[in-house]
Amino acid sequence: MAMSAPRTLFEKVWDDHVVADLGDGFSLLHVDRHLLHDGAGPGLARVKDRGYTIARPDLTFATADHVISTARGRPPTSQSRTRALTALRDGTADAGIPMFDIGSGAQGIVHVIGPELGLTFPGALVVCADSHTCTHGALGAIGFGIGASELEHVLATQTIVQQRRRIMRISYRGECSPGVSAKDIILATVGAIGTAGGSGYAIEYAGAPIRRLEIEERLTLCNLSIELGAKIGMIAPDEKTFAYLEGRRFMPAGKAWDAAVAFWSNLCSDDGAVFDREETIDLSDLSPQVTYGTSPAQTIGIGGVIPRPNDIEDAKARAAIEAALSYMGLEGGEPILGVPVDWVFIGSCTNGRLSDLRIAAAVAKGRHVATHVNAWVVPGSETVQRAAEAEGLDTIFKAAGFAWREPGCSMCLAANGEVVPPGARCISTSNRNFVGRQGQGARTHLASPASAAAAAIAGYIVDHRTLDA
């Protein structure tokens, strides 16, 4: 065989999944893992109604996260949500699809439980009818969100028709100062590249600062790839990845594990591999980020000043900022520090993992939530919940006045009815601050777990690095 040309990580994983070349850059790809959440019930039913069978129930896994209550006892919140959950339970039972249901010990947000159970792994092709499926790329997988029709196609065929992406490498350099997290890095990246900057691309995050990140931090980083407009974001697997995955429930053991690691060790971009676009971001001067607007790109450092619309020349951009500030109830030219908050949400597939909760608990320990603030901690999964309780994080949170909830998506999307009230201001560790995202009229500031916990204590947006006792 001729020497093969240098390839990127994305190309290697893509090539491993091509069942057929459909021309024009399209391929029919094998799907390693199809993850279902509680919106998948109708799709399961439709596949059956259309006369197809579920091709590979053994490669399909379900959980409930979006519509379920995160209150203790999981009370039903509406008929349609109960119907959605029932449809998922019935559909998966009928097809023989494993479901990690409430109380199973493994239920959780689909992008939290995938890596955590070892369902997703380096070199895997992972799809889910949810745009934050890019999260799984942190392990060196190609993960992307699909629509409801594609979901039916995957159920019926275990394949998906996709057009190859262009490839962008974002290389980081410099050393983050203490207290600056993966969330801050990726918010700043979205701020720099824009919410459409990654459209049409698969992104590879690279550089020494990425190597230094722990796996849970990498998951946070890749989670916001879609906020760059890129449906795929990846990090080459390394020793940390293998150490993270070893022994997890769906991972192989013994010789099979060794073979897997040997295979995965080749999953990196070769020297000389060609990227369609390269960006470099220096992290040396980065400070904790907080968003001020209604797009994740509208982010500033914690010591920064909200942009003045009048300083913006382009009329359309000016109008967009004006609309965002008006929705957010903020004035251009004012510092973001000191903006009072009413709600605090710590959780989601961005920042609902054990390491996130440890960071928030370290801030909360021995302090108390400001009297006017409602602060929630929602673990990303039952596994996270159990681990956090085992080390007493729940006790710290409760003593500090935080509500300790059951696992689920909760206020990230408010699809379960857990909303931030109209006009109320929430600092949130989730990934979207869109108009109405956390409830109609709700005002969302995206930030890291440390920043959110600190704001809960202070009652206003504050630099967590200088929080008073």
């Binding site: 459909l22 959605a84 629509g147 065929t157 192989p252 967009a320 108009v435 995202r437």
Partner: protein
């Protein structure tokens, strides 16, 4: 079965804001089984259509009767960014829109469009702006023609623009092809892939729990 896609001749509804995300297109409360998919049209763009007090915003093009009945939507950059919710496409299709002309689209949204015979057409910003400017005239006089067969858009000013849709998607739209049936014609190739792959990457195939 999808309906074969035909030429569209229609007035156009201008919604030129950039970055209209899927949360703005359809609120999450309407999804997860709350509203049947073929009734979502009435809830499209609620967050844009209505003011904070719930009343209709008279300045919003969606409430302007000059554009009622439009089958073409003119939009700003990065239209449909955000979530994977196909309900966003069902809602727009439910309004009677059959083609969206914009400078750029969200990636997952585009795929969802193809699955529902809604045509996402990428045109230069200046052309979409020009069409939006002339769209505000009287209905009839400002029709736009979108022809998928020739991949052209004829503006009401008579200017012809070409666009490009991947051949595979174009054929599927024009012929009204059903994608699962198409893929299952390759059942042998899929089975052969699985057989080979299960040997090459055994860890990718978990044992039953």
């Amino acid at each position: 079965m999808p309906q074969p896609f035909t030429t569209i001749r229609s007035i156009a509804l201008p919604l030129m804001r950039d970055n209209i995300d899927t949360d703005l297109i359809i609120r999450v409360e309407r999804l997860f089984g709350a509203v049947p998919r073929d009734e979502l049209g009435q809830y499209a763009f609620e967050a844009i259509r209505k003011r904070a007090d719930g009343s209709l915003d008279p300045d919003c093009a969606l409430n302007d009767e000059r554009y009622f009945g439009a089958n073409i939507l003119l939009a700003g950059k990065n239209f449909g960014c955000g979530s994977a919710r196909e309900g966003a496409v069902w809602a727009i299709a439910g309004m009677g829109i059959r083609a969206i002309l914009a400078p750029s689209f969200g990636d997952i949204f585009v795929t969802n469009c193809y699955q529902n015979s809604l045509l996402p057409v990428v045109l230069p910003q200046a052309r979409v702006d020009a069409m939006a400017a002339s769209a505000s005239g009287l209905p009839g006089a400002h029709e736009i023609v979108v022809d998928l067969e020739s991949q052209t858009v004829i503006g009401s000013d008579g200017v012809v623009d070409s666009f490009s849709i991947p051949a595979l998607r174009r054929r599927a739209l024009l012929d009204g092809l059903e994608d699962i049936a198409l893929t299952l014609k390759r059942a042998d190739e899929i089975a052969a892939f699985h057989e080979h792959d299960a040997r090459a990457r055994p860890w990718a195939y978990p044992k039953r729990m």
